[in-house]
Symmetry: C2
């Protein structure tokens, strides 16, 4: 997931401003879809705006693979990097914190404060590592459901919104909790990954598990398969962008030749950019979470045994707007369209909007007034 | 580069049959474009058909990044895998060995018998490793020129043909030796790589050079950065195929679940396929050659200082047919079209054909009667 290129100033909008995260501790056992149980879990989350008396104005924002709970505002007045969807969320912005109580939680299995492979297994007092249960998109959503109902007092969810892996969660919310959710707004996503997306994830996983520092997942905190994780991230990052976007941003521009002392130093700007992306990712993300989450993506399949998406969608009650992006080749328009078509075939209230942006899969994160309008109107 | 899916039986065609390779040893010094000189070099090559008395019926076939000199026929009667373009080359086939003297050489810098980083540096009696000069597409072509003129007695080249990196060599032949070449047939190629293609190559190179077994390129024969090379190959292999092709071939098919003992074993068929591709590649290809060749690809740029491709093409005398493939997203149709357009802007005899095949970049290698017809007619 790429950070927005700029902090957007949405017309007449303000900023969420200073925010802080909270930890929700669920002390009841949680059984994963695969049958494994953990005694409880933590979800780290943020909220912006206020829940109304009826508990009916909440919007849940679901993050993508490498995202987190910090989707708007800043953590200190010196914090120069706002949350990852700060252009979309705030007072007067498309997801308007003057109207809505906005919630975003780090996913179960994550590495940014929520319970995941790096967490201490209370039964052994040692990190779970690969003893952490295999997590699915459905498990993530079920854990979030506890957070919003048991901790935050949400009575019904005004909307669930998210892109990429977040969009999968949006769909899963609609299917699992049809009586609870009023609107679904999945973007740049798919009801099941195709072979190419699985293939890219598999190469990334192999880069990680074959890194000698992976140690079958039992690496010490702060250490681990940094080389493999950086390679996985660099490759994935290419799939989040686009041919055209990379050409516009980097083309064949070279960095100072003087700096390229050997043949295999970064020579082109795009190389230097990718290296930075890979390196910085290893400082903030856990390799095991990367493995678990990519598996969750690959196994996500709403087509079910019958292979008919509309059967799965029979359950959905929410109004749905699916947004695809012309230049997204990871989850291309066709896959997004197909979600809306299957909803329509199932007789649901659904629409599809295709936004013409050149920036690839990450288009949902960048400054895009056309997208802002769609989101704002859908949430009225 | 993918092997053809089947041994094609072109209408009324026969097979090249048993072939053997030869080694051309050039004992004169060779100075690379970067100014470095080696005392001589070897090119391993094969030929099929016979050179006519005038030395004017030769066709040079240029191979892609991971290809070699063995493009047709078999090496023994028990050899079940013919050369990589056996469907295209043979008696009565599009590149007709009854008419033409077909030459294919392993590139300078390669690892399949030609002089490259694994070769012994006669000045040190040790392998070159990273002391091997930085090789360019132009250097490859200049070495081939010695082979065909000094060793094989070719007086003029009837045609130069090749896809991908081979297509770059085809263009370079036309520019460097305009009086010598009659026809150019580049396929699935580009006059310069865009940022996305450079980015993928860079991730592959980093996977290799960060493998602890790389040892700055000085690994012993048969050993080396096999993990990094396999990762690089797997990733690259995805870019040689297509979304649609992978879906048709693998979809979301799973291999036996019983065989998937742990979460990170291959689960989907596409994963198992890619793992095999990566593994088998490390058995036949040298990691340093992979580094050198991908750099040659990235630096290839016929646009030159002026940024105007037609200026570079002023030199060309050959008739040219550029072939692009609809589903090729590594060197997409647009980049192939642009080659033909620039030739036309330069007043040259050039055309562009776009072949609608779903198999991505590797489409030039597969059974495709429409492509056979184009090649056959162009070579009349």
């Amino acid at each position: 997931m790429q950070q927005p290129e700029q902090v957007d100033t949405f017309a007449h909008s303000g900023e969420v401003g200073l925010v802080e995260w909270h930890d929700y501790e669920s002390s009841r056992p949680f059984t994963f879809q695969n049958g494994d149980t953990i005694p409880g879990f933590r979800l780290r989350y943020e909220t912006y705006g206020k829940l109304n008396a009826e508990g009916s104005n909440a919007i849940l924002v679901c993050h993508a693979l490498s995202g987190d709970h910090h989707c708007a505002g800043v953590h200190s007045i010196r914090d120069r990097k706002p949350g990852w969807w700060n252009n979309m969320i705030g007072p007067g912005k498309p997801i308007d914190t003057n109207r809505f109580f906005v919630i975003c939680s780090n996913c179960l299995g994550g590495c940014q404060g929520s319970t995941g492979p790096t967490s201490i297994n209370p039964e052994t007092n040692r990190p779970y590592h690969l003893d952490f249960p295999v997590v699915t998109i459905g498990d993530m959503v079920r854990a979030q459901h506890r957070l919003v109902t048991e901790e935050l007092g949400v009575q019904e969810m005004y909307a669930v919104v998210g892109g990429s892996m977040g969009g999968m969660q949006v769909l899963e919310w609609g299917v699992r909790y049809p009586e609870f959710v009023r609107r679904l707004l999945p973007m740049a996503t798919t009801a099941r990954q195709n072979a190419q997306a699985i293939a890219f994830n598999e190469v990334g996983r192999l880069a990680i598990v074959q890194d000698p520092n992976w140690h079958d997942g039992a690496y010490p905190p702060g250490q681990g398969p940094h080389v493999g994780l950086a390679v996985a991230r660099m490759m994935a990052h290419i799939t989040y962008l686009s041919d055209q976007g990379l050409d516009q941003k980097f083309g064949r521009e070279r960095i100072s030749r003087a700096a390229a002392r050997t043949l295999f130093d970064a020579e082109f700007q795009v190389e230097s950019y990718l290296r930075y992306q890979g390196q910085s990712f290893t400082n903030r993300f856990d390799a095991n979470t990367y493995l678990y989450f990519t598996k969750a993506l690959d196994r996500f399949d709403l087509y079910g045994e019958s292979g008919r998406l509309e059967e799965t969608f029979e359950a959905i009650r929410a109004r749905t707007l699916v947004v695809g992006f012309t230049s997204d080749w990871l989850f291309p328009p066709k896959q997004n369209r197909e979600i809306a078509l299957a909803l329509l075939r199932a007789g649901k209230n659904a629409g599809y909007a295709e936004v013409d942006l050149p920036l690839g899969h990450d288009s949902f994160l960048v400054h895009a007034p056309e997208l802002y309008d769609l989101v704002e109107r859908f949430l009225i």
